[in-house]
Symmetry: C2
Subunit: 207 residues, 2 copies
Amino acid sequence: MSERRSRRGRRPGVSGTRDAILAAARTCFTERGYDRASMRQIAAFAGVDPALIHHYFGRKERLFLATMRMPDLDTALGQVLAPPEGLDPGQIGEGLVRAVARLWADPELPRTLAGLVRTAATNEQGAAMLREFLGHAVLGRLATAVPSEDADLRAALVGSQIFGLLVARVVLKLEPLASMPGEDLARSVGPTLQRYLTGDIGTGTGG
Amino acid sequence: MSERRSRRGRRPGVSGTRDAILAAARTCFTERGYDRASMRQIAAFAGVDPALIHHYFGRKERLFLATMRMPDLDTALGQVLAPPEGLDPGQIGEGLVRAVARLWADPELPRTLAGLVRTAATNEQGAAMLREFLGHAVLGRLATAVPSEDADLRAALVGSQIFGLLVARVVLKLEPLASMPGEDLARSVGPTLQRYLTGDIGTGTGG
DNA sequence: CATACAATTCATCTAACGATGAATTGCCTC
DNA sequence: GAGGCAATTCATCGTTAGATGAATTGTATG
């Protein structure tokens, strides 16, 4: 019986530790937000010593950045939002509706975004990240797709409506929104988005 | 020179401590959310010993409840939303627009609500509170004001739009929404609310 | 084989948090 | 003025967090 008292030191074979940490961190950050997700918890979730996280990523903030920089979110939203460029502006609203429906269809993305919301709500840096993310990855595409003088405002209005639905559904679980099929929801909200994009929003443009 | 080494014991005069704690707690909870607002910080803010909070309110959770039960929020929103009963349904949208404009005009209310949002995002109990608050105090009034088969859904849609704007403006500070005058915003959003309340939202009712 | 480096664990530090109980002081009533 | 209660502070407990440095073990390189 070889007593293996001290299991210290490097393990044989390849070490997927880094990726395990990233995966665990994304799960924890997503589910609990930046503050409530602890390094120790993440380490436990990854089956790893807490010190290893510092070894790989340094401070918690760096881990968070590394986690959220993972391309998944951007590419996922990129697919969902499709390439709006070159589309007939009059049909973008409908395209957005379908995009939103797809957004709700995938249970993973809303949870990830909800985690971002949780983080953004408490963490100023998280708020900055979400702001930048929405600004560039989402609203920027819309603004260029529907060029106008107040494109920024239009995109922001669209974002606020989708965002409000997201929070109401995923974070607050406010009925009847929470358990409503995505397509129905998209049908209700579609005209709103279309108007925000190409309609009269009281600024003298559009209509 | 009487050395007053020990400043222990009751202070002379009346003690506005309880109210001071409540005020400080509201500020802290509002600005930082339930988790990040610490008892010690609240006590320091109120110029008071941390143990006094426990003396008056017990656990942190009780303090939070006491803070958020303060009637300000309910009455403020009651005034803002005016009594929608007896109004011509066709004009409720406009009334809501004005209400929303007033909502943004007062800098206090959005900050309070933002605090609730911060709490609701991380704290399950906070989410429940906000859910209930929105459900009863806000959406309930709307639903009864515009009776229809899908009144709940209509009210929830209205809520999601206003809510999205609130978060975008106050929490995320997303431009150009954040620095937009309330009236302009209300003008942009008014038709959306009107349609949600009395228009065709794809459920077979309204139009 | 020796050396360097990466991976891993252990033990520990410091700071902050919520909470509690005892001690002290003022106010009010009898 | 004696008791009782409310208000206040102090000291402290137990927990948890993030962070660090040393020690140990594997892998690669010369």
